[in-house]
Symmetry: C2
Subunit: 434 residues, 2 copies
């Protein structure tokens, strides 16, 4: 009986195991299809990703074949390896990041190499016994001090990679047992390979479908403003459940919630601005384009996004709203919201087209008028029959919208400052000239 049940169990295990094995190809197929779908979406969302991958492949193939056909020193040895490593590590998505890493690598290697040779000489002078002690001490001190500098926020943002290369090169040169003439040969070899690797990276990065960090920052700031605008344009209809011809105005929830990504945009904007500063002038952007202004606009946009996030909490609010009161303030609130949205959309398009018009100012003025109208209404409102609890949610929405109008005004001013510094074209002037 027991044996039978054990047999039974074993058989059961076998069957379930067999089922699982049989299901394996199916599962694998499903997984592969899933990955392919995701990859397709990644590529469609930003085709530059595919191009970047091909560019990396090209740069690596170029450097590989270069060293394959021209074994410069000791066959396909050290030098080719350094060039390969340089390409793999230096080639980044944007031109600015690639330039920044290349410069970091070059200068750090030069500086550390010189220091390392100095340390090597000093250690040699102290005799056979003192040499390893002194060398160890040098490596320890330089490595510890350099690592500590990586905690400085400015160093971290701009020279982090350079510090790593500095530590590595110093250690390598200082501790190497080479004779003097060999060290010079090594230095020459390493610098030339880094130069070749960096040159290939920079050339491929700039001349084949370049991705400029500056342009990315420029567009990111505009797109973030558009996301807020989408929310604000849809908010009125969504909050007041506005009906048109008896049917609810349906708004894509995805569109409304797109603003959430703005809340976490700080780090991305800062690193793009850092890289943008290193880029040569390109297209519509001069060498001294005021990249810092974008950070200011970005910070104000995030502040506005925080208010929008608070506002979002009142969509589908469960509190009963007094119908009459709601009808009264609906027109003001919808106007504040949509005019702010329009202003932001207009400002975003001003940035995108690098033109300057007074259209955004008009929208801001309209929004401000709505604020004043609302305030006048609030002053004159007859509150005898109204339950404060019922109007609390609507009052809060109104109050948050007033803040948003103020923020929009600030954003508008900082965009105008950008327009002034970056010499945006005035659209009115063009019309006037026609």
């Amino acid at each position: 009986m027991e044996i039978g049940s054990v047999n039974h169990e074993t058989a059961g295990l076998f069957v379930s195991g067999w089922c699982r094995i049989k299901a394996l190809p199916e599962k694998l197929k499903a997984n592969v299809i899933e990955v392919i779908k995701k990859a397709k979406k990644l590529g469609q969302d930003d085709p530059r990703r595919v191009i970047h991958s091909l560019k990396v492949g090209l740069a690596l193939t170029l450097v590989s074949l270069f060293y394959y056909f021209r074994p410069l020193y000791d066959g396909f040895g050290m030098s080719a390896i350094w060039a390969l490593l340089t390409v793999v590590v230096v080639f980044e998505f944007t031109v600015g990041a690639t330039l920044s890493k290349g410069l970091n690598r070059g200068f750090a290697t030069l500086l550390a190499g010189a220091l390392g040779v100095g340390a090597h000489y000093l250690a040699c002078l102290s005799g056979e016994k003192g040499e390893p002690i002194l060398l160890g001490l040098f490596v320890f001190l330089i490595a510890a001090a350099s690592t500590f500098t990586r905690f400085f926020p400015q160093m971290k943002a701009r020279y982090d990679y350079g510090v790593l290369i500095f530590i590595f090169t110093f250690g390598m040169v200082a501790v190497s047992g080479y004779r003097d003439d060999e060290i010079l040969k090594l230095a020459h070899q390493r610098l030339s390979t880094i130069l070749i690797g960096c040159t290939i990276c920079v050339v491929v990065s700039i001349f084949i479908c370049p991705v400029w960090a500056g342009e990315d920052l420029h567009n990111l700031v505009a797109v973030n403003m558009e996301k807020l605008a989408s929310f604000l344009e849809g908010f009125g209809a969504e909050y007041f459940k506005i009906e048109e011809d008896g049917e609810r105005v349906l708004i894509m929830i995805d569109d409304l919630q797109a603003y959430k990504s703005v809340l976490n945009s700080k780090a991305g904007e800062e690193s793009l601005a850092n890289f943008a500063r290193r880029e040569p002038g390109h297209g519509r952007f001069g060498f001294r384009h005021p990249w810092k202004e974008y950070l200011k606009i970005g910070a104000l946009t995030r502040q506005c996004a925080s208010q929008v996030e608070a506002l979002n909490g009142y969509i589908n609010s469960e509190t009963q709203i007094s119908q009459e009161f709601q009808r009264n303030i609906q027109i003001f609130c919808t106007k504040m919201s949509s005019e702010s949205g329009n202003a932001l959309k207009e400002l975003a398009s001003e940035i995108k087209t690098m033109t300057y018009s007074s259209l955004a100012d008009c929208h801001v003025e309209n929004a401000k008028t709505a604020v004043n109208d609302l305030k006048t209404f609030f002053k004159a409102a007859m509150l005898e029959n109204i339950d404060l609890l019922e109007i609390m949610s609507a009052t809060t929405v109104a109050s948050l919208l007033i803040k948003i109008v103020t923020h929009t005004d600030e954003i508008s001013e900082s965009v105008h400052e950008l327009a002034r510094l970056a010499h945006f074209e005035s659209v009115e002037l063009l019309h006037g000239e026609l």
Copy 2:
């Protein structure tokens, strides 16, 4: 006359130039003092930074001296350089990050090495003319495909470094002109040096004052809750300008504004959670500690921080507030705010001490009672003599505080879930046992 003025100008230039040169040492001295001050502050803020720097120095010195005294293959050549590079690149601030990079480096090298040898053989089979073409094609395809995988968010978060090493190693092995026996020697050499480098990193990282990513995440989540708590505890007094014994209660503005850093904490928390998963059990944290729960708590805390940011806009609000109305709701608002703050502080301390008590629940209940009291007051409020505009700001503050109480309740529940999953000790039970 003209010559005189030119002379005069030249003299002026000389004088101003001389002044500048004379001021140079002063300026340099000021700069150096500034940097030293900053460094001191960085070290005092987190002494683990100093220890980390010393640890990196130690690890590098160890590996340098190891290869200095034991020239394994061809003197202090390739192998030592790989080991040095491994230490420089793999040694990170936390144990989890170091482990993650070490594993990435190891596995990527193994996989790419095997693939590279395969590609090398295949290319050799196709004759002298076909070899470079095939090799170039392989390198191109592998590099492009691997680079594209770096755009997958999960890959980026966990295996980014591994993919880089994979591309590099594959290219190196595939294109190398070595004979078969040399390739095996190279592979052995490279793997052994990576092993030695990684071992030294991991040993130094774990056994000398370890910095655990998990513990950092644990503390970060608690500290972020404390920052919100500080704001909420101070908000009532600050907004209502409460006076005690005729003197304004002075609150440190720095304390109030500390919450701002919570808004941008997402990326940091996610990367810590990623590393924490790789860490072995340590101290109070088991191997299967529920790190994902911290991300949930973090997300809720950020949502609450957004409401706090909106609330912050009403401190020092210019709108005239009706004195009478303000006095009436002051008690409810202050209570909602301070009880939420107390609850958050209590929850933070529960996380920090890994204990579990019902104290936070009490505070949440008190806050909820205040919400209900306020609602009752609002329902019964006599509004005849009140200007809606004057009470708008106060109503908004009340409404935002109600949202904050809801968020606090959610945070409290997710902390309880963490307490359940991570088996926090119950404090009541301990008291009962005494």
